[in-house]
């Protein structure tokens, strides 16, 4: 066979043998266990939700959700690699399997739940969009913002709500879109915009960063529903169930009065709900693909939902946001978890 003919055959063979679509993907639970680490997508920096402190440790409500999942799955809440994602990158990073879970104050919407290959596991913070303005502008309500310029971060539901609000109230306005909230805020502070808009929790956090927080007011109007929650990929039902029940375990623990401090004593509790939660009765962990101590480890590591809330956004934090809609249903809030049984 000649040289050339051989080359032709080789090329043809290579072309035919080229693999089709990549082989079936590993389950998320297995890959997390194999890696010994949970990869968790968080906000680049939003006080109260996920931000690095002066020692480089990620703290906040969302960061504690990452810890809770790692505690349940790996037995150690510190086995988390945090990946800071911008609003633009977050979904692509999750879709492309760079992240195991996205806990990044992300609004649950139909479009994201259906067309982006994501599944939201629940709501870990009930939020709504609001406006912050300078006190000197003398504005009492968002409906007085006719003709105003509003700064906003790109790639968020915020941008759409803003347009909806002004359109439905038939008010003229200008929007100024920045890629990062830092620049948007700087523009607001330089008086380029009359107002800055984002979720109210974010506004409180932003107000603290201003040189003189007292010069700015958060307007009372809430213009949208912003149910924030962690999301996972749609193609892994087992993983979805695990993350969802980590969330429910946090809520159920608060309802049952199990806290970080008393969880060890609670192991001896005779209350059936507590016994099932902490794995003393039943085989609930096994169904999730974990062991029966899964919820005990979560509480041991981060406490229950109420403790997380108080620590990062509630009375024990600088944000000092009232519990409001984020209280348990028993306290007049919206948080309600299905029972563990």
């Amino acid at each position: 066979m000649t040289h050339l003919a051989r080359a032709v055959v080789w090329c043809a063979a290579a072309l035919i043998a080229m693999p089709g679509v990549a082989s079936a993907q590993q389950r998320t639970l297995d890959s997390v266990k194999q890696r010994g680490q949970l990869v968790c997508g968080v906000n680049v920096g939003l006080a109260g939700f996920s931000a690095q402190d002066d020692k480089g440790v990620w703290t906040g409500l969302d960061a504690d959700y990452c810890r809770a999942i790692a505690a349940a799955v790996l037995g150690d809440g510190n086995k988390v690699r945090y990946v800071a994602t911008t609003t633009k990158e977050r979904f692509t990073a999750l879709q492309s399997r760079e992240l195991d879970v996205l806990a990044r104050n992300t609004t649950w919407t139909l479009q994201r739940d259906s067309a982006q290959g994501l599944s939201f596991i629940g709501v870990n913070y009930y939020d709504g969009q609001g406006f912050i303005v300078k006190k000197s502008a003398n504005v009492k309500s968002a409906k007085e913002l006719a003709g105003a310029t509003v700064c906003v971060q790109s790639g968020t539901t915020t941008e759409l709500n803003l347009a909806d609000f002004f359109r439905s109230n038939k008010l003229e306005y200008k929007t100024l879109v920045f890629e990062k909230s830092d620049e948007a805020l700087k523009a607001y502070q330089a008086d380029r915009c009359d107002s800055y808009t984002t979720d109210v929790s974010g506004l409180y956090s932003v107000r603290l960063q201003m040189a003189k927080p007292a010069d700015h007011v958060v307007l009372p109007d809430i213009i949208s529903k912003e149910p924030l929650g962690p999301a996972v990929r749609q193609d892994d039902g087992q993983w979805f169930t695990i993350v969802k029940w980590v969330h429910f375990a946090l809520l159920n623990a608060e309802e049952a009065g199990v806290t970080k401090a008393n969880v060890d004593q609670m192991l001896n509790s005779q209350v059936p709900d507590v016994r099932r939660l902490l794995g003393k009765e039943g085989d609930f962990g096994k169904g999730l693909g974990l062991d029966n101590d899964w919820a005990y480890r979560i509480i041991k590591h981060v406490g229950n939902y109420g403790e997380i809330f108080d620590r990062h956004v509630g009375p024990d934090s600088r944000l000092n946001i009232p519990r409001g809609r984020n209280a348990l249903y028993t306290q007049g809030g919206l948080h309600y978890a299905p029972p563990i049984r």
Partner: protein, 395 residues
């Protein structure tokens, strides 16, 4: 390899060893391989997206966008489609690229010539400009210009009042907008006519110089035609143009033409940065013309200005144009940094907001790359044509 063995010995091999046949075979093989790889990639992506339940396809371009854009050259509202938002962003990028290229070229030529000035101070100032500006990252300079501009401008209520009913404040530059009245068409026709006349005059004088060697001072009469004719028609038609002045209402000025500070900062940053590179290209081009050319021109009795205009610059342009093209391309591509300072350019509107609202990263990024490729290739084609026109025609 049944074919090889069953054919008469040597004949097929002889055919295969003909250089042109071999070449063709390799080309076809390479092409087939490339096509297969492309097909495989596209197929794989589509398949993976389908399996992950991520929407794909270009249907989203027809859906309602639902967001607003702060500056738009065409009619756009939040009820427009994503496809419309695509054009809004593209036009904003084109605007900044076109204005930036003009400004950077003018500034670059001035600085480049100033660097060669015999005046010590002028030459040193130009050198300092080039060395400082081209050695700092562009993004940093954009932030500097944006926040420097913002910090130095007053709030709307304390606006600087400029002559002619214009206002300058932190929200932008507000200019009176011309509003054509009935009868304005005549003025437009007059402008067109005077442009035609100018072209005719120029052609005539070129022919005359070519035939008789006599020069005709074209510039003066041409300007006269360009200004006097339309002006005469304008007044004859009873000044059919009114101005709409910006007025302070509520939070801000309404009416007139508003130039955003984002656009001003982006233009300043891009053109000052690119001009520093163009200045070096211009200096190199001028120094690249042999000194003998200048001496010969002076020996012929040409004045300094004539030497520069007729001898040095035409030859320098041949050296300047090819690297200048690269700078134009750089400027266009760098304009995508606009996203950092809130100017609604193509990347900000389309690759930012649209990508996020639709979640269709693959399609949006592909379209973005396509747009920038098309812009750059179009610039290249034009500059190559210009270069061929300017190149030395050897006989």
């Amino acid at each position: 390899m049944a074919v090889t063995t069953s054919s008469p010995p040597g004949r097929l091999n002889g055919f295969l060893y003909r250089p042109e046949v071999r070449q063709a075979i390799y080309q076809v093989l390479l092409l087939a391989a490339a096509a297969y790889v492309a097909y495989w990639v596209v197929n794989n992506v589509a398949d993976n997206l389908r399996r992950q339940n991520v929407a794909s396809g270009f249907d989203f371009l027809g859906r309602t966008a639902g967001f607003d854009v702060s500056q738009s050259l065409i009619a756009y509202s939040n009820a427009s489609t994503y496809g419309r938002a695509f054009w809004v962003g593209l036009l904003n990028t084109l605007l900044v690229a076109a204005l930036g290229i003009v400004a950077a070229t003018v500034l670059g030529f001035i600085v480049g010539i100033a660097r060669l000035s015999s005046n010590w101070l002028v030459a040193r100032l130009a050198t300092a400009y080039v060395e400082i500006v081209r050695n700092l990252p562009l993004l940093l300079q954009l932030f500097f210009w944006y926040f420097a501009v913002l910090k130095n401008l007053p709030a709307p209520r304390q606006s600087h009042v400029l002559p002619g009913g214009a206002f300058l404040n932190v929200r932008g530059l507000y200019l009176p907008a011309p509003v054509p009245q009935p009868g304005f068409a005549a003025v437009a026709i007059a402008v067109g006519l005077s442009l035609l006349l100018m072209a005719g005059l120029w052609a005539w004088s070129w022919r005359r110089q070519h035939l008789t060697g006599q020069r005709f001072p074209v510039l003066g009469p041409a300007l006269l035609i360009l200004v006097a004719l339309p002006l005469a028609v304008f007044f004859a038609a009873g000044s059919p143009l009114s101005l709409s002045y910006p007025e302070l209402r509520g939070f801000n000025f309404q009416g007139g033409i508003a130039v955003q500070p984002e656009l001003m900062a982006l233009l300043l940053g891009l053109s000052i940065y690119t001009a520093s590179f163009i200045a070096e290209i211009v200096r190199a081009g001028i120094l690249g013309v042999p000194k003998g050319q200048t001496e010969a021109a002076q020996a012929l009795g040409l004045s300094n200005a004539q030497t520069l205009r007729l001898v040095v610059i035409p030859q320098a342009l041949r050296i300047i144009i090819p690297p200048l093209t690269s700078q134009y391309l750089n400027l266009t591509k760098n304009s995508s940094l606009a996203v950092a300072i809130g100017y609604p350019d193509f990347v900000s509107v389309f690759t930012g907001t649209v990508l996020n609202q639709t979640g269709q990263a693959v399609e949006v990024i592909l379209m973005t790359m396509g747009v920038f490729l098309a812009l750059s290739l179009a610039t290249s084609v034009f500059m190559n044509w210009f270069n061929r026109r300017m190149a030395l025609v050897e006989r």
